[in-house]
């Protein structure tokens, strides 16, 4: 293959030393522990608190918040989007979050509006 010196090899920038690796691994195990605990908490509440009980709304909101916490840890640490350049981080997150927030709002509002018409 022809050698080109105008192409920057970004793939090499991610290399790190043994000491840095140790630190990264420590962080990975920490996040693993957090994700496992959060999942256990979710299952515990899911099995304990029944739908329709007075606590249900609180638990439902808790589930959604914990899910977002889990998602944030996976995206920011495991997919190391948190370590990428700000430009990349926001070009991935912002369009998605804006569009999904809108879609969730409109989807649930339409669903609720359909209910009386279907019954």
């Amino acid at each position: 293959m022809e050698q080109r010196d105008d192409i920057i090899e970004y793939s090499l920038d991610n290399h790190h030393s043994e000491e840095e690796g140790k630190k990264i691994r420590k962080k990975i195990w920490k996040v693993t522990l957090i994700l496992s605990i959060v999942t256990l908490v979710e299952v515990f509440f899911g099995a304990m608190v029944k739908q329709g009980s007075s606590m249900w709304l609180t638990v439902k909101v808790l589930f959604i918040l914990l899910t977002i916490v889990k998602a944030a840890y996976i995206v920011m640490t495991f997919m190391h989007l948190g370590d990428e350049k700000k430009a990349l981080k926001w070009i991935v997150l912002l369009p998605y979050l804006i569009f999904m927030t809108y879609l969730i709002f409109i989807g649930l509002a339409e669903g609720a509006a359909l209910y009386p018409r279907m019954h």
């Binding site: 920038d13 649930l108 359909l114 019954h119």
Partner: protein, 359 residues
């Protein structure tokens, strides 16, 4: 290799002036991120459609901890234990791949090999678990869902009494001898096993009688007495109201129809009329509205498809690691790209877990 150029180029610090990537990532990695955003929109669309449908049904929707409470090899109720296990398996496989990526950044070929292999195994275990769950969902519970005489629809909970045998009353074309007992040892392949034959007969209106004295008509026309232990603590959870029964509240078990309220008679009356649905397919399901079944198969199926693709990609990368392709290339970025995809699959499952099973 053009790595030596990287430092000079970076020195000029102009992000959007051309020549350099404003994101400081390679083309492949950037495209993987863009693909994942579009795929995330697809899954987001599915889950929102699921939410829209659920909202349009008001409260008449299956409840996760009631629907998914079975474990392989065990009877009894273990709400959400199995899906929690599946979630845990996927989280752990996400951890093993990120450790593989980390090893790649140190050019540690042995480490990459080890963690990639672990992730492939984790992925296969997950797909296997999903296969069991689908199978369970399709075959359904021992009790199924019944339509009661007043028109209300209910699912049943409790411990299904064991069927010992079918005692022949009037022989048909295959089974012989009045009083002979048909067990799982001498039952025909067409009838399957006792439980299968019982459910098949119930759905085809070939069961008659009451709880203690049921008669079954088998495939060959044989009429037999069902020798079955009594069910324990049979409760009917009303899902659709009828003339006599209102919908049971998930929060209050006293709103179910218990044995003291005549649940046994109601249930077996429905069975003898053939008003029962076992399991799920594309036409009916015992868990709730038909759309629920469609969404279950489609969303978990599409996710399972992604997992399978991920396993195939990882196997390809694994072979390249063994061949030393990335060692020669000077970096293990391919592991990182496949890793991104794999984390995404885990991420989707986190949301499916919450919105399909928990809420």
């Amino acid at each position: 290799m053009a790595g030596h150029a990287s430092k000079e180029m970076k020195a000029n610090k102009v992000d959007w002036g051309g020549k350099t990537s404003p994101f400081s990532v390679s083309y492949g990695k950037l495209m993987m991120w863009f693909f994942l955003v579009s795929d995330a929109l697809t899954f987001g669309g599915f889950l929102v459609a699921f939410g829209l449908t659920r909202y349009s049904y008001g409260g008449a929707w299956p409840i996760g901890e009631e629907t998914f409470d079975a474990l392989p090899f065990l009877t009894g109720s273990y709400p959400l234990a199995y899906v929690a296990l599946m979630t845990f398996i996927l989280i752990i496989s996400s951890v093993t791949i990120v450790l593989g990526v980390e090893a790649g950044h140190r050019m540690d070929r042995k480490g990459v090999t080890k963690w990639l292999l672990a992730t492939i195994v984790g992925g296969l275990v997950f797909v296997g678990s999903q296969a069991w769950e689908w199978s369970h969902f399709i075959h359904g519970t021992n009790f199924g869902r019944v339509e009661l005489s007043d028109g209300s629809v209910a699912t049943a909970k409790g411990e299904f009494g064991k069927i010992h045998d079918f005692e022949i009353v009037r022989p048909g074309s295959h089974y012989e001898g009045v009083g002979t007992k048909i067990t799982n040892d001498n039952i025909t392949a067409e009838d399957g096993d006792l439980m299968h034959a019982f459910q098949h007969a119930a759905a085809k209106r070939k069961l008659s009688g009451t709880a203690g004295a049921m008669m079954i008509t088998l495939h060959d026309g044989t009429v037999a007495k069902v020798n079955k232990e009594a069910d324990k603590d049979l409760q009917l959870i009303v899902k659709v109201p009828g003339n006599d029964y209102a919908v049971s509240s998930a929060a209050d078990e006293s709103t179910r129809i218990h044995e003291a309220d005549g649940s046994v008679d109601l249930y077996y009356e429905a069975l003898s009329k053939g008003n029962v649905v076992y399991g799920a397919n594309l036409h009916e399901n015992e868990y709730g509205p038909q759309t629920y079944g469609h969404f279950f198969f489609f969303v978990t199926g599409f996710h399972g498809f992604h997992v399978s693709i991920g396993i195939i990609l990882m196997i390809i990368v694994f072979i390249n690691v063994l061949k030393g392709t990335y060692e020669k290339r000077g970096h293990y970025e391919m592991v990182e790209k496949v890793g991104l995809y794999w984390h995404f699959v885990d991420l989707v499952w986190v949301f499916v877990f919450t919105f399909f099973y928990l809420i």
